[in-house]
């Protein structure tokens, strides 16, 4: 099969096309024919700095996949050949998405939302599961709560805004002014232009902060939280306070989760959640996709199509 392999950890030029063996589904695994693979910041961070956990002979990044089940390994009953599925195979282990086929434990995939095509569906798993696990599984968002989302028009942010809204929260988003109309359309109740306003002067009494920025944003976010509130940061644990003084502060590492993927698909099918796709490129242009992604100027996701 064709795959984009990381030849050596480093810049985008290390993403090279190779013909490698098609994987076989093992015990409890599915083999998925990839139609589209979403691109995430963790892809280029991994490509640049190496894998978090030891990988095999052909390192392949890409944890966002939408495709068709080609075959199932022994013991798999939740999916069958021909099923259209989307998922986050193998995260945080060896990925496999930038290829014609990928294998993963069956519960890393769920039925693709019926109302989306493969390109749209491939934009969802990692970012939407991150937003879901931050808002629902970690912070326990409930109706009437005040939720502040940083980088609210970003990859995770635009989904966090919609999920919080679908759960009945009052949603405040930070973004540059050019994104404010979009955020209103996604359901944000208030928008703050971080270029002209310090958010901590404009908002207070927040129950949950979803922080996709990190660094000093994490520190500053502590000031706007109610006692007992939750700060969930996404980039990494480095900026978390050692003693958060009356609030909860945590870093969420997203996990594959069939139940979460099903909840997300249900929201999509109810019209409450839609992914934004910025750029679509063929698999062969994975290096170009990373270059675009690393410039940080996209609104919504970059997705690779796999022929």
């Amino acid at each position: 099969m064709r795959a984009i392999v990381v030849n050596e950890w480093g810049g985008p030029e290390n993403l090279v096309e190779r013909e490698i063996d098609r994987p076989e589904p093992g015990l409890g695994e599915v083999l998925v024919r990839v139609h589209a693979a979403g691109v995430n910041p963790v892809d280029w961070k991994t490509r640049d700095s190496g894998a978090l956990i030891a990988w095999g002979e052909h390192p392949i990044v890409g944890w966002d996949v939408s495709g068709t089940v080609e075959a199932v390994g022994p013991g798999v009953t939740v999916h069958a050949p021909g099923d259209e599925v989307y998922g986050m195979p193998n995260f945080p282990r060896q990925a496999g998405g930038y290829a014609q086929y990928v294998t993963a434990p069956a519960r890393h995939f769920a039925a693709k939302p019926a109302t989306l095509d493969h390109v749209q569906a491939a934009a969802l798993p990692l970012a939407a599961l991150t937003a879901w696990q931050a808002l629902v599984d970690t912070a326990g968002v409930s109706a009437g709560q005040r939720v502040l989302v940083h980088a609210a028009a970003g990859g995770v942010g635009h989904l966090a805004v919609q999920i919080a809204k679908a759960r009945g929260a009052y949603v405040i988003g930070t973004a540059s002014e050019g994104k404010h109309a979009l955020l209103r359309e996604l359901g944000a109740d208030e928008v703050i232009d971080y270029r002209t306003t310090d958010f901590e002067d404009a908002v207070s009494d927040v129950d949950i902060v979803i922080d996709a920025v990190g660094g000093e944003y994490t520190q500053r976010s502590l000031k706007v939280l109610k006692t007992g509130g939750h700060l969930v940061t996404l980039p990494g644990p480095d900026s978390l306070p050692a003693d958060p003084q009356g609030v909860h502060a945590s870093w969420v590492l997203v996990e594959p989760d069939l139940a979460g993927l099903r909840e997300i698909a249900a929201l999509v099918e109810q019209g409450l959640l839609k992914p934004l796709v910025d750029t679509v490129l063929p698999l062969e242009q994975a290096a170009r996709a990373h270059e675009i992604g690393e410039q940080g100027r996209t609104t919504g996701k970059i997705v690779l199509t796999v022929a």
Copy 2:
């Protein structure tokens, strides 16, 4: 830490106590202090014949654990140190249960049912998830359906009877006569003594068969199913028909699943599901536990306690 290691694949005498390094929780993992470890047939099958998937330096069996979270790795938010949890760590990969500590991805554990002690909770995960994934995730059991459970007083069977009953099904169980009173108490509507009656003469129009026996039972079970019904066999795929002729027939390989563990805990706390514990032994007597288990005369589970 103390652990029972499989010194060499083979008989129970190969289970030996060793002092080995305590594992460290990696990215997204929890470290659990094991208070009790359930014993399952897959434990002695693995000990006897070797692992399904390559294992590390110190092979440790045991996938049923109840204990306390000692520490969490980076990115874990679903559990915190001090939480009492139960789960099925790492199945079907390197187990780790027969030891003082085990690490696994956080979602392999859920909050322990509040109404159970650690010994009872350690009897549940693998058998109850198997029953749940067979009945609910694979066969989609619903109220009013007719469910036939083979070996209904066995490790998976007694839980399948209760779960099917809790979902509103009409439940028929096969077991020797001495177990009939127990099955009635667990909620079975009909019981069949397999020693005196061929079940296919006594029952028909079944929607779902849960077959924990395999072999000729799998073949004979096809005759009692309605068109469109589900046969779910548990021992392995060998006895599955190539062409099941109008019914669904599948082998379920149980998978770690936070959502399933939570559903099971909820049934327990509602008083609708209780595990049967036959024998409790200290970890040091793991070999004795396997000898007892392999004789196949227990009613309910064998559980090891870990000091």
